[in-house]
Symmetry: C2
Subunit: 178 residues, 2 copies
């Protein structure tokens, strides 16, 4: 932040406001405190029979690597709606959410992943705008060495674990847990 | 947003950028797109024996009403750490988190509540800076008509439900579910 979005002043300082205990961006002209907070990345692992649907990213970061369909939650949107939207955007697929499988903190980059498992409706999918390709993988075929993000690896592993155990658990972890 | 935080221009417009499908705040001078995303409100319902700890708010909004200790997640913080911090700030109490009990969407005000149940360590608490008072309540004594937020009512009800059933479930809903 170079300029105060409220008054336009360039007098932006990082300081601990009175009554607070963390440094904030504060405008020296209008005194507005500009808070910054983590973003939610909502996603869903689509499941069809014994396979899961992954997408190969057509966008940076991690262009060309595989991922669980996920993206920033939008204003006005609930987490479930965001997860369903991301599957549509990345894989042109509809899902019926089954359960929230992972809460994954990336504290250093201010992201909190919330990923569901969902049933891929009628097993149908195509290739969404943000993907190079989309593909169903059995556990044995997952391209573990070509995954875009640790959060995806975490969620996919937990899905197959839950399936073996016949449970539906929320798994919580922070980066760099796999 | 009156001025672009990047270049200081007042030419801020709400429009749908090329390749996007939602209106964004865009700077007409430097072309920066200013995304806005929901905030996470992290919290924890502290439990001691057959009681839960609630705090009466010393701050607006809802000054004087009761609440589950909760607040905005900070940059650099995981959801669990945020929930533990909020209990400390509001009730000067330590908790050991048991499980995530609720994901509660408030789409219209761009807030996503993530609240845990936690064990109140040694049953100890005081009154935090942001509270007028803190008090342990049995289910029969909960001040249902003086609750600050629907998210708190939702979480407290689900806690007593889970306890009766002997389960630890994640409950998901959107405002105004109670």
């Amino acid at each position: 932040m170079n300029f105060c979005p409220h008054c336009g002043s360039a007098e932006i300082s990082k300081l601990i406001p009175a009554g607070d205990n963390r440094p904030r961006l504060v405008c020296g002209a209008c005194t507005t405190i500009h808070y910054r907070n983590p973003k939610i990345v909502a996603g869903c692992l689509p499941v069809w029979e014994d396979k899961v649907l992954l997408c190969r990213r057509a966008i940076e970061p991690c262009y060309g690597l595989w991922n669980v369909p996920s993206g920033y939650l939008e204003n006005g949107e609930g987490v479930e709606a965001g997860a369903i939207r991301e599957v549509w955007e990345e894989a042109a697929a509809k899902v019926e959410l089954t359960y929230l499988i992972s809460l994954y903190n990336l504290e250093k980059i201010n992201q909190i992943y919330l990923q569901f498992v969902g049933e891929l409706v009628e097993g149908k999918f195509a290739v969404g705008e943000e993907s190079l390709e989309c593909q169903l993988f059995t556990e044995a075929d997952i391209p573990w060495d070509e995954m875009a993000f640790t959060s995806s690896t975490f969620t996919i592993k937990r899905h197959f674990l839950d399936r073996r155990d016949g449970t539906q658990r929320l798994h919580r972890a922070s980066y760099p847990t796999l």
